[in-house]
């Protein structure tokens, strides 16, 4: 009985949230929603035990693809966002051939190199990628009205609702995947790949599947961002952004679905609101780095471990999974 009530309250809170904020905070909120999808998709890849440094570049691939198909080919914007995600997923499948010859640390470095290659391609080729300056004047999401609410996509609140809706659907899909036998197989591939293989699991196929799904959703996140900002350029997807994603995931913890989301939300609030208000503008990266080190030292299982301690035993994975099955 309690559960639907919580859902309704959460939905109302999420809908009301932007109206209590300033304009710049509303803009931050839009990016926060997009980043939640980015970091959650990243977690799906980490389920198989592989950590990539190319995830943000893959996100950029989605942004570029969506921008180009809408601008050059005249594809409608919501459709182009989906195409952006598909492009990212297909590219991930292609990249999996060289990258999944490696594991662990080597995969990490390989994914970084692959990402840099993609970024250099964007920089080098003016046609169609626009070189260092990237693409500007990307078609915005067309305005429309639902009768009771008119979407005006120059308003961050409208875009927050739109992006929030898309992200919710994506999170739901990611959640379903994780709680399915496919998700269990991802875990199996992570913990004992030899035993999984002896049970008939095609390791390459499952690693590629996780990589492609994670990349596809990252691409959707990128496309959402591109159509909001109106420009994409190679520098908005560089390693610095990747470090942010890693920090969210590590500080939040990757053992649960909500861990990275928690990390993303809390660190964004800290970074954008508290530190900015306090006037720590210059020192923000320093503080961010210090938080990451402190959390590795004193909170190795991330913020989610605090939640698990506070909440009653419900957090144990098995009954939850049984309910989902």
């Amino acid at each position: 009985m309690l559960k639907p009530l919580i859902f309704v309250l959460a939905a109302v809170a999420l809908i009301a949230l932007p109206h209590g904020l300033s304009f710049s905070q509303q803009e931050i909120l839009v990016f926060l929603v997009i980043n939640i999808l980015l970091v959650t998709s990243y977690r799906l890849l980490t389920l198989t035990g592989e950590w990539s440094l190319g995830h943000v570049v893959i996100m950029g691939v989605g942004a570029y693809a969506s921008a180009l198909v809408s601008k050059e080919l005249g594809v409608n914007v919501p459709v182009s966002i989906l195409l952006g995600g598909i492009t990212s997923a297909l590219l991930a499948v292609l990249l999996s051939f060289p990258l999944f010859r490696m594991k662990g640390f080597y995969f990490l470095i390989g994914s970084f190199a692959a990402g840099e290659i993609i970024r250099l391609i964007w920089k080098r080729f003016r046609e169609p990628f626009g070189g260092v300056r990237g693409i500007s004047g990307i078609d915005p999401m067309p305005d429309f009205s639902l009768g009771f609410y008119s979407f005006d996509f120059f308003e961050p609140v409208s875009y927050y609702y739109f992006a929030g809706f898309v992200v919710m659907i994506c999170l739901w899909v990611l959640w379903r995947i994780e709680k399915s036998p496919v998700g269990l197989t991802f875990h199996a591939v992570h913990w004992q790949d030899k035993l999984a293989q002896a049970s008939g699991v095609n390791l390459r196929a499952y690693r590629t599947l996780a990589f492609a799904i994670a990349s596809g959703f990252a691409g959707i996140a990128g496309a959402l961002q591109g159509h909001y900002v109106g420009t994409v350029n190679p520098n908005s997807f560089d390693i610095e952004v990747m470090v942010f994603v890693l920090t969210w995931a590590i500080v939040g913890g990757t053992a649960t679905f909500y861990g990275p989301i928690l990390g993303c939300v809390l660190l964004t609030i800290l970074n954008e609101i508290v530190l900015r208000e306090l006037g720590f503008e210059q020192a923000r990266p320093l503080i961010y780095g210090a938080i990451m080190i402190l959390s590795i030292l004193f909170l190795p299982n991330g913020l989610e471990s605090i939640v698990q301690k506070v909440l009653p035993r419900k957090a144990a994975p098995s009954p939850e999974r049984k309910a989902a099955a």
Binding site: I177, S180, L195, Q197, A198, S318
Partner: protein
């Protein structure tokens, strides 16, 4: 009996070392076949070649006449040859039930689209039923919610076998299944293996526990220094001069 599983001139070289040298033997369908030999005889290497973990340097593994040597481990598994591992190789972080569910990967192949939409309920139910059946068979029915890493050693060995059994195998390759078990556990495990045999599962096992081997196997192949030494029933092997020599050293060295 038919030639169900046949090793033909299997050879494995690691650099200059010949770990297994032109080994040939046949495993009859529905039998329990033991592979024994002193330490370093190449038993586990042979196992790894059959299961696809290693690609043999030369020679073939034939399953129902089909050459399966050089296939990847999951491809071998999909042909019905499923192995267990030495030591307690399990998904330690997952629960016992989840371990067994991974074992049902082959009969209930997960489909990602069905999983998202929710059309795989039947499969999930079937997989869970099969997983529980396999766990019950190995006496782990009460432990389904435990974390696999927390189980006792004997239970972990049993779970390793339950994971393999959950996939409906034709052949089970058991790598030292009795290691670290007390006599009572060994006796129970032997009973379970006889029941597996009654189910029509062919078992090939590597083992050091002679009591278990002699009490269980229909046929025993003995290896020494990578080479075929002798083959026969338990009684034959027990009194085979070459086997005794391999284990105890030449007669003249016996004090």
């Amino acid at each position: 009996m038919t030639d169900f599983l046949e090793m033909r001139d299997l050879t494995m070289r690691f650099g200059g070392l010949v770990a297994v040298d032109t080994l040939s033997f046949k495993v009859a369908h529905g039998s329990i076949h033991g592979l024994i030999g002193p330490n370093g005889a190449g038993k586990t290497t042979t196992f790894n070649m059959i299961s696809g973990f290693y690609t043999p340097t030369a020679g073939q593994v034939l399953l129902r006449g089909e050459d399966i040597s050089g296939l990847k481990m999951h491809e071998v598994a999909r042909r019905g040859v499923v192995r267990t591992f030495q030591h307690s190789t399990l998904f330690a972080e997952l629960t016992v039930l989840e371990n067994a569910l991974v074992g049902t990967h082959m009969p209930f192949r997960p489909n990602i689209f069905a999983a998202i939409v929710g059309w795989d309920r039947e499969d999930r139910r079937g997989a869970e039923a099969r997983a529980r059946e396999a766990l019950d068979f190995f006496g782990l029915g009460d432990l389904v919610e435990e974390r696999a890493g927390d189980l006792s050693h004997g239970h972990q060995r049993a779970l390793g076998m339950a994971v393999a059994y959950a996939s409906h195998p034709d052949v089970m390759l058991l790598d030292e299944p009795f290691t670290g078990m007390n006599p009572e556990e060994t006796r129970q495990m032997m009973d379970l293996m006889r029941r597996l045999k009654a189910d029509g599962i062919t078992i090939l096992l590597v083992e050091h526990d002679m009591q278990a081997i002699m009490g269980l196997c229909d046929t025993i192949t003995c290896m020494s220094f990578g080479k075929f030494l002798a083959e026969g029933g338990p009684a034959e092997i027990r009194h085979h001069p070459a086997v005794i020599e391999a284990y105890l050293g030449g007669a003249r060295h016996v004090a």
